[in-house]
């Protein structure tokens, strides 16, 4: 009631007069409020980015700062695109991203769908399920090394107990075949709740009257699922997939602690290659070029993401 009156008065007040009594102009205030953030991001994100672009055209090495820097033109980029190891790392990343997203989406959506049955105590159990995703991937990933230890590790013990394989043979992290799956399991354990939470929001956004109408039309449960539930939850699923896709594309911490890219380079995802090139081989120029290539790829994904995000918002 009071708000409405105030609103009417506000509308009735002539604009220039109102502005005069506000002291600092709105435009000035807007920039005063926004510019610190923009300046910080320019200094800490954009300036280094341009520096990296400059370095990517040189043979600069961070461990030899006094050496003369040579301009190589596009040579770094050419070498990266022709580098077998880089392509293997990209394949490893693609394998990791594909399987984690697939598993997380299927399991996450199923869990959300089950939670949406609203059984008694569902809120409590949902909170329990959400816990892993809030934890530090590095600290928890590190502990999974212990669970994966052959014989003494809980995971290996359970696997050998269930399958009958001798416990010393369950070598999740040192077996070339198993190591990629070891990181997929931890990532799925950690981030399925994330997908679940977003899917749950999607399912809850579907108004009940649509199901009631379908029921009146005698649509089967199967039909309702495919024609109502899935299509209406799809923007949310896509949002979750895009977020996880971007996050897992740049995955570093968990893999670095679990396998460090090993055994050999079987779990060497792009970020690990980048770290090895930049901070172990100190090929700063070369790795900057690789970083720029990765950044362009993620930026493309981010663009798609924001468009999808706006679509979800419009609903």
């Amino acid at each position: 009631m009071l708000d409405r009156t105030a609103d009417n008065v506000a509308r009735a007040t002539p604009e220039p007069l109102a502005r005069k009594i506000r002291g600092i102009s709105d435009k000035g205030l807007a920039w005063l409020f926004i510019s610190p953030t923009i300046l910080l991001l320019l200094a800490v994100n954009i300036f280094p980015l341009f520096w990296a672009i400059y370095l990517s055209f040189t043979n600069y090495r961070a461990n030899r700062p006094n050496e003369v820097v040579k301009n190589l033109g596009l040579a770094n980029y050419q070498r990266i695109l022709g580098d077998q190891d880089i392509w293997i790392a990209m394949q490893t990343t693609a394998h990791f991203v594909f399987w984690t997203i697939l598993l997380q989406t299927v399991i996450g959506f199923t869990l959300a769908w089950l939670i949406d049955r609203k059984f008694r105590g569902h809120a409590f159990w949902t909170t329990i399920i959400l816990v892993p995703m809030m934890l530090s991937p590095a600290v928890v990933g590190n502990f999974w090394r212990f669970l994966y230890e052959p014989q003494i590790g809980l995971f290996s013990y359970v696997v050998s107990f269930v399958t009958g394989i001798p416990p010393t043979n369950v070598q999740m992290l040192s077996n070339v075949e198993l190591a990629p799956w070891a990181i997929i399991i931890v990532d799925t354990w950690m981030w399925t709740p994330y997908v679940m939470l977003i899917c749950l929001a999607g399912l809850r956004s579907i108004p009940e009257y649509i199901y009631e109408a379908a029921e009146v039309d005698r649509a089967s449960n199967w039909r309702q699922f495919w024609s109502i539930t899935l299509p209406m939850a799809l923007p949310f699923i896509m949002l979750a997939v895009l977020f996880r896709g971007i996050e897992n594309f740049k995955m570093f911490d968990m893999v670095n602690l679990l396998t460090g890219g090993g055994p050999g380079s079987t779990t060497e995802v792009a970020s690990i290659t980048l770290k090895r090139q930049a901070f172990e081989s100190w090929r700063t120029g070369y790795s900057s070029a690789f970083a720029i290539i990765l950044f362009v790829a993620v930026f493309g994904l981010a663009n798609i993401y924001v468009k999808a995000l706006n679509k979800v918002k419009q609903r």
Partner: protein, 316 residues
């Protein structure tokens, strides 16, 4: 209408609920096992922690916590016997293993670094984020959408790609391995989340409140301070917790840009080693102490969680 709500034709049957409940509870219990195992391991002795088969029932001990906070040296039994009586439980436990406490470990300073850097960067990010979010929410900012996208896009850079030039820049500026450098960096990463989340929260506060306040003679700044901020408290608190969790959990930047005096707990915990390999009870103890604050925050935040993890895109 009232009939359909009372006996909804679409409400799941009690059978469906039972099956759904069983599966969800089973998943929840299985997914929580690794965390319970961390907690249990932190109370095991080193021999118990590497027993085969893995011990579920064991004599609890705080040896892991002792080892986490101290460094120890091996001594001859004669030397240990020549010492006075043990001063505490830790001292006694360590002596049974033919060792003496040499001094405090680095865990406490690393943990304090984590606290300083996480709270410092959260304060800065939320401060800057609140101002920007208000600016974007209430004023006609030219190119607002582009600026907002720019702010968000900085979040999508792979951390290692950012770390290369930051490493060089910090080396030039003398910010390598300093808390200030880490606070600046985490603020920059978190401010994008803060702006996006807070813009959503501030958008939900009716403009009429400020307008009424301004009619009453408040300036825009006073109206912001006295009417918008108090109403945005929940949103600001939720945003702050999200920023805090990110900064607390962050590993990649910390591992590459800090090595000593400003190192945080995440890169430190994996380096805790005992004699002949990783000291798992001590690692578990460090992990437990490190995770407890996050567990508390997760429970506090559960209603805002969805909003936080989607940068405000999905609201309930």
């Amino acid at each position: 209408m009232s009939l359909t709500t009372a006996h909804s034709v679409v409400a799941p049957s009690s059978n469906a609920k039972l099956i759904a409940g069983t599966i969800i509870i089973a998943y929840a219990l299985i997914s929580i096992v690794p965390l319970l195992w961390i907690f249990a391991t932190s109370f095991k002795t080193p021999p118990d922690s590497i027993a085969y088969p893995p011990k579920i029932v064991f004599q609890p001990s705080i040896e892991g916590y002792c080892n986490l906070f101290t460094t120890r040296t091996r001594q001859t039994p004669e030397y240990i016997n020549s010492l006075g009586p043990a001063t505490g439980f830790c001292d006694e436990t360590v002596r049974k293993r033919n060792m003496v406490i040499a001094g405090p470990s680095n865990f406490l300073p690393r943990f304090v670094n984590s606290l300083i850097i996480a709270f410092g960067s959260t304060f800065c990010a939320v401060f800057l984020g609140t101002l920007s979010a208000y600016g974007f929410s209430r004023f006609q900012v030219p190119l607002a959408d582009d600026l907002l996208f720019f702010i968000l896009s900085t979040r999508f850079m792979p951390p290692i790609a950012v770390a290369i030039p930051i490493y060089l820049m910090y080396r030039e500026l003398g910010l390598s391995d300093t808390a200030l450098g880490m606070i600046l960096l985490y603020t920059a990463v978190n401010v994008s989340l803060a702006v996006w989340l807070l813009k959503g929260f501030i958008d939900e506060i009716p403009r009429e409140y400020e307008e009424a306040a301004m009619i009453d003679g408040y300036t825009r700044l006073q109206a912001f301070w006295r009417t918008v901020l108090p109403q945005a408290t929940t949103g600001i608190a939720a945003t702050a917790i999200f920023c805090l969790i990110f900064a607390w959990n962050e590993y990649a930047f910390a591992a590459l840009l800090t090595s000593g005096s400003a190192q945080t707990a995440p890169p430190f915990i994996p380096t805790i080693i005992g004699e002949g390999g990783q000291d798992w009870p001590a690692v578990a103890a460090g992990t437990t102490i490190f995770l407890v604050p996050i567990l508390v925050f997760t429970i506090l935040l559960r209603k805002q969680l969805l909003r936080g993890i989607t940068f405000g895109a999905v609201r309930k």
